[in-house]
């Protein structure tokens, strides 16, 4: 049993209402189902000057997620004991003390698209100090960007050093146009691999990469993600072919093996609408590191209906959804499983 001596039960966490750690512990101990809002209503905590809000929330979550054992103690009324680690975890903790720290490489994948003078994909990776005050930074890191076309062939590879207060801002879709004759109506897809290797022990700070797709009247942006596992996933949207074009973009993140991607829609579990009619079932083989762009197309019967899709893949992948206005003037991008 571990007694957490760092947290004094008599510590006041909400001075306006004189609420201590012990009060908070008692409330959680007495009512294991209590929500944070209920605790605030019951005690009035954080409800005057609000300066303590974040601390109260921090302690509430910490104790709510622990196995609490309260013991009567002559001095402080309560002794706080936290014992939420298994024997295995404790064993690992001891082992970990004797091994050196090593840097964690982060690899992200994201599909990119380009269309002549209409759509462009830009990557942003910034390492600004907290509130730009030059005191707390994310770690300096080596960054590698690799752009591949839809077949998985490398079109661009470059290494960068991301220093404090630095920003990498690069049009990555331009490399897809190298040696390609692009039809005016054609949207070209590929992928971007981002490898980040921190070179000093620290925190990630604000270094999460963001992909921005620029269209004429509205851009879309999303943070990049690590690769997703093989298996199932899905997405739901409204089918509005007069207004939206929906693309499912899948990148095969495996270096050596092709990835068989199967998609099926509509899977209407909420509607008994047109059951079994015009169902799209598609299976696409994606080459290693390749990317596909699947446009969601259905019959007119489905217009304005809620459409559920499901898919599966035989290998690891990165999956995103693009929603583009029919005139390609606005775009949004979201990551999906």
């Amino acid at each position: 049993m571990k007694i957490d001596n760092k947290i004094s039960p008599s510590k006041v966490i909400c001075p306006c209402f004189d609420i201590t750690i012990a009060h908070l512990m008692r409330a959680i101990y007495d009512n294991k189902n209590i929500s944070y809002d209920e605790f605030l209503t019951m005690t009035n905590a954080t409800n005057k000057c609000t300066a303590c809000s974040l601390d109260v929330e921090y302690y509430f979550t910490k104790f709510k997620n622990s196995n609490l054992i309260l013991e009567v103690d002559a001095d402080t009324s309560f002794k706080i004991q936290l014992d939420n680690k298994s024997r295995k975890e404790k064993f690992y903790e001891i082992i970990d003390r004797f091994t050196p720290m090593v840097s964690m490489m982060q690899t992200n994948y994201i599909p990119i698209i380009v269309k002549n003078k209409t759509l462009d994909s830009w990557i942003w990776i910034a390492n600004n100090s907290m509130m730009h005050e030059r005191e707390v930074f994310g770690s300096k890191m080596d960054v590698e960007l690799i752009v591949r076309n839809h077949l998985g062939d490398i079109k661009h590879k470059k290494k960068y050093f991301l220093d404090h207060e630095d920003c990498i801002h690069e049009n990555v879709s331009q490399f897809l146009l190298k040696d390609v004759e692009l039809d005016n109506n054609e949207i070209l897809a590929g992928s971007l691999e981002i490898n980040r290797l921190p070179i000093e022990i620290g925190v990630r700070g604000a270094t999460r990469p963001q992909l921005e797709i620029l269209a004429k009247e509205g851009s879309g942006a999303v943070h990049t993600q690590g690769k997703g596992r093989s298996g199932g996933g899905g997405f739901s949207c409204l089918y509005r072919p007069d207004t939206d074009i929906i693309f499912i973009a899948i990148t095969n993140t495996d270096t050596n093996n092709k990835n068989d991607f199967s998609i099926e829609y509509p899977i209407n579990n909420a509607l008994n609408f047109n059951k079994g009619k015009d169902i799209v079932k598609d299976c696409i083989s994606i080459p290693p590191r390749g990317t596909i762009l699947h446009e969601v197309k259905l019959g007119d019967d489905y217009i304005d209906q809620l459409i559920h899709m499901k898919w599966s893949s035989t290998g690891s992948k990165s999956s995103y959804v693009f929603c583009v206005s029919t005139d390609l003037s606005q775009i949004s991008i979201d990551h999906v499983t």
């Binding site: 690992y92 994310g138 022990i201 999460r208 009247e217 509205g218 207004t243 939206d244 929603c323």
Partner: protein, 274 residues
């Protein structure tokens, strides 16, 4: 730790849009322990201009972890126009067991996209975000003792007809004072967001006289945590939104780990593939 509820979560509802919200019964059941029969309350509350406007409650019946019955599994809500300038509404989602029994194995909000649309406008997607207890924010407060959220890709280009705005939501009981700072050290000081209000903050204010474009990063701090999203919209029309995206906390996650942790992690990956 089992719980009777999922953490409350928040979704903005910008003006000029309706939102189709989907009830993810398979995700709900995957979070539940096996129970013979359990009724789950799934409740949307719509707030506008500081007040509750409407509430819709679904009672979902699960038996042996399978969804048995309930009402329709999606709900469409139309935005109402705010009487205040530069404001819109937001939705708070509460999920709990009806009898208070502790049936949930995890409490984080369900990773689920809701669909925003309206006639003649492109759809976009967004998900509910934690009202409280976001592990990233908790970690940030633990390490830095400060709430800071960031956005790395602000892009205002009036020649290209697009601009950007923040949308701040205060779902709490007390006013929140926020401070924004750009990487070129422009500061927007002490903006006040009143309780239960969702306030647009157009970033065109960053443009100096004669400037048509601004690109860069913005960090934001506040005396309390606050829900914030960034909206990419047409230059002169805040109601024509291209994309809505959450801001990211200044991350406290470590960039390094112990060598033994790395080995364990690699082994876990190998075995999970088999």
């Amino acid at each position: 730790m089992l719980s009777s509820h999922i953490y409350s979560s928040i979704l903005p509802l910008p003006q000029g849009y309706c939102v189709d919200m989907l009830i993810p019964v398979s995700l709900i059941s995957s979070r539940m322990i096996e129970t013979r029969k359990c009724i789950i309350i799934y409740e949307y509350t719509y707030f506008l201009d500081g007040d509750e406007v409407s509430r819709k409650t679904f009672e979902l019946i699960f038996e042996n972890n399978r969804y048995i019955e309930g009402q329709s599994l999606s709900y469409r809500l139309y935005s109402k126009r705010s009487i205040k300038e530069n404001q819109c509404g937001y939705i708070e989602l509460d999920v709990k067991s009806k009898d208070g029994s502790r049936v949930f194995k995890a409490m984080s909000p369900f990773p689920q996209y809701e669909i925003f649309s309206n006639i003649g406008k492109k759809s976009f997607f967004s998900s509910f975000t934690n009202k409280t207890s976001d592990p990233q924010i908790i970690g940030q407060i633990e390490l830095f003792k400060r709430f800071v959220i960031t956005y790395p890709a602000i892009n205002i280009d009036l020649k290209k007809d697009f601009s950007t705005a923040f949308l701040f939501i205060n779902p709490y009981e007390k006013p929140i004072i926020i401070v924004l700072k750009t990487q070129d050290l422009k500061t927007i000081d002490r903006k006040k967001i009143l309780p239960r209000e969702a306030v647009y903050f157009p970033l065109s204010c960053l443009l100096s006289k004669g400037e048509n474009s601004w690109k860069g990063q913005i960090h934001m701090t506040a005396n309390n945590r606050i829900v914030a999203v960034v909206l990419n919209h047409k230059k002169d029309d805040m109601d024509s939104i291209s994309n809505m995206e959450h801001l990211d906390p200044f991350r406290s996650d470590s960039t390094h780990q112990r060598f033994s942790q790395k080995i364990r992690s690699a082994l876990r990956n190998i075995f999970s593939k088999k």
